[in-house]
């Protein structure tokens, strides 16, 4: 069963410098589906277009072409209004994603009221308290302001806010990259637990291959707007086919490989002949999305 279907997503930005105009294709023909209870990770370096994909799914950007369809439990497409209940987002910077002026309660109460999940002050407070409990935060935090909370706590509030409208799809855009290292796994574990409890579909955007592998079922590797490799998490990480995936995996610090920085051998350079191809582990072959047919391997 599918809950979100992304097909041939393209995003172009118009760059203006003086009188000259040029277009930059940030996302090129990205296709994938999200399934309840499963996490798909999108990994890539900065500028690979992964955040743009997230923002388009959250409807913060309009796709240039392609479709994003949310499907309800009955298999019917979710209509415009309900899309906001269906898809929610967790942002990267916990210091910027909560309004410094408002209390924690406000952040949870608004989506509850807006989506008609609670009425009246008492009920709203009660439900907000339940949400805080679900993300392992004491309900006493309700009347606090964001600046009184640590980064990890804020990100938990952001997750609670995403849960408030009863979302089925959570888009998490680098949810832990700005947190202190010791609170990162806690937040990721929380996301994983909530996902299994509520059978959420999670899109986990990250540059960190290691957490992508441990916290997701499938991985899409993006480079310059294209998906260059896709498949089950372990297959992509342990048996990477695309040279770019290999480069990315090799770049992550690894204490076991102490001394390799000193070695004279140059950095593995990503070969260019496969740049436009996608390796699909499920299909077990290279795919040329522009040609729409299997490529010669």
């Amino acid at each position: 069963m599918t809950t979100l279907e992304v097909r041939d997503l393209v995003k172009e930005f118009t760059l203006r410098s003086g009188l000259r105009r040029s277009t930059l294709r940030a996302v090129h023909k990205v296709t994938f589906t999200l399934v309840p209870g499963r996490t798909v990770a999108v990994v890539g370096a900065s500028g690979s277009g992964k955040s743009t994909v997230a923002r388009m799914i959250a409807r913060l950007e309009k796709p240039t072409s392609g479709t994003i369809t949310a499907l309800g439990p009955d298999g019917e497409p979710v209509r415009d209004r309900a899309y906001r209940d269906h898809v929610q987002m967790v942002f990267q910077d916990p210091f910027a994603s909560l309004n410094p002026f408002h209390s924690i309660e406000h952040h949870l109460a608004r989506p509850l009221l807006l989506h008609g999940r609670a009425e009246g002050r008492e009920e709203v407070r009660e439900q907000a308290a339940q949400l805080l409990e679900r993300v392992n935060l004491p309900t006493a935090l309700m009347d606090r302001r964001p600046h009184e909370l640590s980064g990890g706590q804020r990100q938990r509030v952001a997750i609670a806010r995403a849960l408030a409208p009863g979302a089925q799809v959570i888009v998490a855009d680098e949810p832990v990259s700005m947190l202190d290292v010791s609170s990162r796994l806690g937040v990721l574990n929380l996301l994983a637990r909530l996902q299994q409890e509520d059978r959420l579909a999670v899109l986990y955007i990250t540059h960190d291959l290691a957490t992508a592998r441990h916290f997701s079922d499938d991985i899409l590797v993006m480079n310059r707007g294209r998906i260059v490799e896709r498949g089950p998490a372990d297959a992509v990480i342990l048996d990477p086919h695309h040279p770019y995936t290999r480069t990315l995996a090799a770049a992550a610090p690894n204490p076991e490989l102490r001394g390799r920085l000193r070695s004279a051998e140059p950095e593995p350079k990503a070969a260019t002949d496969r740049d436009h191809l996608t390796y699909d582990h499920d299909a077990g072959r290279w795919i040329d999305i522009d040609a729409d047919q299997p490529a010669a391997a």
Partner: protein, 332 residues
Amino acid sequence: MTTQLPLPDGLADLPPGAPGTTAPPSGRRTGWRAVLPTWTPKLAIGLGLVAAVALFGLLGPLLAGDPNTIRNIGLTGPSGDHWLGTTQTGQDVLDQLTRATRGSLQIGLFVGVLATALSALVGVVGGYAGGLVDEAFSLLSNVMLVIPGLPLVIVISGFVPAEQRGSWTVVLVLALTGWASAARVLRAQTLSVRNRDYVAAAKVAGEKPWRVICVEILPNLLPVLASQFVFSVVAAILSEAGLSFLGLGASNSSTLGTMLYFAQNGFALQRDAWWWFVPPGLIIAALGCGLALVNLSLDEIINPRLRRPGRRRNTPEKADRSPNHAVRSTAA
């Protein structure tokens, strides 16, 4: 522990209740308190001056006699009967001063409210909406900015016949000419707030645009709005005084500017009647000075770096970054 600088962040994500993470209720600056300026001598003096002038303008007229009573003791100096002396026509200067202060304050306040509302509308809505709306609003405020203010005011005021030139006309003219710079500042601030993630989060939650503006953006612009308001009050009081001094002010009201106008017409300076023109001048100076000091304190909220060390509030994230300010160009 609201003032932890180097927080033991290894533990920062522990559930509150664990030692070191909960903030005791005392000393918290929340909600509205967080947007209030900290208590500094600068602010105290400023508020004191403004409050004194305001009280004088509010209560003075109730205690004073009729400022228009004409006596045959023209241009006498301060005495027991007339503390600030009399004018050429024997009117009591102190009585006049109380009325004039009230008149000036009224005009300043109305212009301040109107101009700030206008600038918020143009600046915040334009900045948030972007695109054509923004272009149009920006063009409008830029045009208003490049037109020299006082000459325009003089032209408009001169265009309205003197007998119809009530204080409302003056208020409108001053508000219409005085909102543009504030609108630009607010637009810039809105552009920066608009791109914060919490605004995006509100959009993802499905909030309507006006709600995003009013609930998510405007509260964070409060310090800027307050500062712009204070600024336009000062500007309005000074421009009104200038207009009235030139004889272009409201015909039916008495302000500090009209007092100076009559003093000038009565050759107060040449006749050494200092008691006639010095008091209104001093009140304008005190009010301008007081409001400017309040404005400086407001600026410190907007830009915490202006704060003197030791006076600052130590919010954890600010304090954590503070050492970085020091090191811009140690190389040079």
